[in-house]
């Protein structure tokens, strides 16, 4: 019998689709929320709408995508079945209810039992995910570089949510020593650089070579990223906890930045060593995302020296601009690009794999509506610049127009992904 042939590792179609569907819905909701309350986006980064939107983007759009993608990819990358599909559905229930409660309480800026219950439900969802993912990794015959990043990512995810919950409780039961906003930055870095950063680095170095058929490059830079990034995040967090704020920031923020720049170099090496010369839209959008990471990293370092600037006597919070570039520029572009690659793969496995050898089957690239996706690509890219101009120059109308364009792009993205689910007949393929 062939090795691995009786290990059924096909991912759960329903569980993964449910996560991707919820992710896209969260993105649309976040953009609508921003449009409805766009004036609030000009306050400092601790404003109700920014808190609500950031968490809807990170815990909705990004987290649902990461969980769905990890349910899909961990089993295939490590060649082991998902530990428990049922637990995945239970986790989804906690995640969804927790998210709705948390966003509601942030949006109305009331820190009370709703915040705590929402945060606690999210913590339960995260713990269930970590158990499921860790047991799946544990079941693998051998681990690899992606598995190592996933384990680190899971630890940071847990710390992020625990710390978030502690901060929420601190809002009405003031028990944490020190400045609340300074600890909030640790929570944000644990989440963005620790959890999302680790997952993106670990998964990218597996997927980008596969999609591009890259051969003959070294993974050394990725291992360097692993150590440097961990030193940066742990150092930054500890120095804040022990009150060495400014000294620690000047040392560890650049360390985190260096890690991400090395990661970008690794991606460039993978692309340089690709055999498949043509680039599809999914890869182009992803590369645009990786390039935005460089911009976000530089702005992040600049924040050490300039926290805000003034236009017409208005003080402008640079952290808001940084957050936008990071979340809407880097994370969102990368997610969109990668979903254009992994959703067709999921659909292909579910519907078409069994037809191989019996009839003509589509390729994964045939499953994406090229008109929708191309229009989305241009719309989303241009809207990012318009929104950014709105933020930088503090012009409400420009910001609103940019968000309108972004919403149109996001709707087109949702339509492109939905189209992938429409079954192709043999006639469609002629």
């Amino acid at each position: 019998m062939a090795k691995g042939i009786n290990i059924f590792m096909s991912p759960s179609f329903k569980l993964i689709s449910l996560h991707f569907f919820s992710a896209i819905l969260s993105l649309l909701a976040a953009v609508v929320l921003m449009m409805v309350s766009y004036q609030g986006l000009f306050w400092n980064h601790f404003s109700p709408v920014i808190l609500a939107v950031t968490h809807l983007m990170v815990l909705g759009w990004i987290a649902f995508t990461i969980f769905g993608a990890m349910f899909q990819l961990t089993p295939v990358v490590l060649q082991t079945p998902l530990w428990s599909e049922k637990l995945g559905f239970v986790q989804y229930g906690f995640h969804l209810i927790g998210l709705v409660l948390l966003i509601y309480s942030f949006y109305i800026f009331a820190f009370n039992w709703i915040t705590v219950i929402g945060g606690s439900l999210l913590l339960i969802a995260v713990v269930l995910f970590i158990i499921n993912n860790s047991m799946t990794i544990y079941g693998a015959k051998e681990n690899n570089i992606t598995g190592v990043f996933m384990i680190a990512g899971n630890i940071y995810l847990f710390l992020t949510v625990v710390m978030g919950l502690m901060l929420a409780i601190n809002q009405f039961y003031n028990y944490l020593p020190g400045n609340h906003l300074k600890l909030l930055t640790v929570h944000a870095h644990l989440g963005m650089a620790g959890w999302i950063g680790m997952i993106i680095c670990g998964v990218s170095v597996k997927l980008i070579p596969m999609f591009n058929l890259s051969h003959g490059f070294s993974f050394k830079p990725t291992w360097v990223v692993f150590y440097v990034l961990n030193v940066g995040i742990v150092g930054f967090s500890l120095s804040r906890f022990f009150g060495f704020d400014s000294t620690g920031d000047y040392i560890f923020i650049p360390v985190i930045a260096v890690a991400f720049l090395i990661f970008f170099y690794q991606i460039l090496m993978i692309i340089k060593h690709r055999l498949k010369k043509q680039m599809d839209l999914g890869i182009k959008i992803s590369l645009f995302g990786y390039s935005t990471l460089v911009v976000a990293t530089l702005v992040g370092v600049a924040l050490l020296f300039v926290a805000n600037y003034t236009i017409d006597d208005k003080s402008i919070d640079l952290a808001v601009i940084y957050g936008f570039i990071l979340i809407f520029g880097f994370f969102s572009q990368l997610i969109m690009g990668q979903l254009y690659k992994i959703v067709p793969f999921l659909i292909w496995l579910h519907y078409y794999s069994k037809l191989v050898g019996k009839q003509k089957v589509p390729l994964t690239k045939d499953l994406i509506n090229k008109d929708f996706s191309r229009a989305q690509y241009y719309l989303t890219n241009s809207s990012n610049f318009v929104v950014l101009a709105g933020f930088v120059f503090q012009i409400g109308e420009v910001l609103l127009a940019g968000l309108g364009l972004y919403l149109a792009g996001a709707i087109l993205f949702a339509m492109s992904i939905a189209q992938t689910y429409v079954r192709k007949t043999e006639d469609d393929l002629k």
């Binding site: 295939v76 992606t146 058929l213 051969h215 010369k277 793969f345 292909w348």
Partner: protein, 102 residues
């Protein structure tokens, strides 16, 4: 008795849907052995941990089983020698190296 060519012809229905190439032109099939009622296919994948691992191996087995029901099919997935781009057929190389951007 069937020939190796017949087995390879059937294996060419098994595709990598991402690249649009079949496993024969990708040079993933190393050897086919036909003995009595057994077909043994020694093959590899471009890299361990390939997301197409299960699909390609299962499809290869099922396609051969359908085509040659009187035979028992064995797929031996090996990692030595490792696959290199040199194994691509000239047509496959052309498709991969000179394809156009979308």
């Amino acid at each position: 008795m069937i020939s190796s060519e017949q087995v390879l012809e059937k294996l060419s229905y098994v595709i990598d849907p991402e690249l649009g190439l079949n496993i024969v032109e990708m040079g993933l099939v190393y050897e086919t052995i036909i003995k009595e009622d057994v077909i043994l296919v020694k093959m590899t994948l471009t890299t361990p941990g390939c997301p197409m691992h299960d699909t390609i191996v299962t499809n290869a087995e099922k396609t051969l089983q359908r085509a040659f029901p009187q035979y028992r099919i064995f797929i031996d997935l090996v990692w030595e020698p490792a696959w290199t781009p040199e194994a691509l057929s000239p047509e496959a190389k052309k498709k991969i190296y000179y394809g156009e951007d979308e």
